[in-house]
């Protein structure tokens, strides 16, 4: 990679593959939204780089900016992870509810 230049495609690829690793099963479901959000963050990172290259901000300021973007990315991933867990919980409980209903119906009174 050339100095002072960000390879956006490479960065996008790295961020998407990191997200896939974290989200695993949920990735397919959230991919379109996640990719859009990752692109927004990348756009912000590019702008930070431009500010730094043009001498508008110092290295220390650039690092603080990058921290803000990094934490935003983390929050987005956590949100998808949480939504995935909610979906899993709903699925399991719906299955258990079916078992409950079937057993209660079979024995004629409310056992479960």
């Amino acid at each position: 990679m050339e100095k002072n230049k960000i390879d956006v495609k490479e960065l996008l690829h790295s961020m998407i593959s990191a997200s896939k690793d974290v989200l695993k099963k949920e990735w397919k479901q959230v991919a379109p939204v996640a990719e859009l959000q990752i692109k927004n963050i990348l756009h912000n990172i590019e702008q930070i780089a431009v500010l730094k290259i043009n001498g508008k901000i110092t290295e220390e300021q650039a690092k603080l900016h990058l921290t803000i973007q990094k934490e935003s990315f983390k929050t987005i991933l956590l949100s998808f992870e949480g939504i995935g867990i909610v979906t899993a919980e709903k699925t399991i409980n719906a299955a258990l509810h079916t078992v409950k209903t079937t057993i209660n119906k079979a024995i004629g009174w409310r056992l479960l």
Binding site: Q37, N40, I41, N44, Q47, I48, L51, K56, I57, T58, E60, Q61, L64, H65, T67, I68, Q69, E71, S72, K74, T75, I76, L78, S79, E81, G82, I83, I85, V86, A88, E89, K90, I92, N93, L96, V99, K100, I103, L111, L112
Partner: protein, 146 residues
């Protein structure tokens, strides 16, 4: 032998009955936390709007915005304490920690001064994405039992 079989059957049945109870993998929805996140969003939006309007003016000096940082850090502290008391709230707790780091970084940048409207927009965009993600999870938690 018979007793053993009976005991095993009874145990298996009890395990089965127990497994039919509701499973809880993540915290329940908490309206107070949701309202606090909305409040943080409202405060930060007003703050960024003012900053963008006053770029280059003395009104943007850090010293004139200390109240904002005090208020928002109190909100985050309340959110942290509240979610820690809620069972299985690790994900929301991690989100609040991330937001706290963002606020602290913003404060440090503010102390150094903002150079342009674009610089403020970059930060606002990250904040908006974070808070939107937090609210998205809150909506999912709210709809969990529907």
């Amino acid at each position: 032998m018979n007793i053993h079989i009976r005991f095993f059957s009874l145990s298996a049945f009890l395990v089965f009955l127990f497994s039919c109870a509701e499973v809880k993998l993540i915290q329940e929805y908490d309206a107070v936390s949701n309202n606090k996140i909305n409040l943080v969003y409202e405060r930060s939006t007003k703050f960024f709007t003012k900053l963008k309007r006053n770029v280059g003016l003395p009104e943007n000096k850090y010293e004139k915005h200390i109240d904002f940082y005090d208020d928002i850090q109190s909100d985050i502290h309340i959110l942290e304490t509240r979610t820690k008391a809620i069972d299985k709230s690790v994900i929301v707790q991690k989100q609040i920690t991330a937001l706290d780091i963002q606020i602290k970084s913003l404060e440090q940048l503010h102390k150094k001064g903002f150079v342009s409207k674009e610089e403020i927009e970059i930060i606002q965009s990250a904040f908006d994405q974070s808070i939107a993600a937090m609210l998205k999870l809150q909506v999912a938690l709210k709809n969990k039992n529907n």
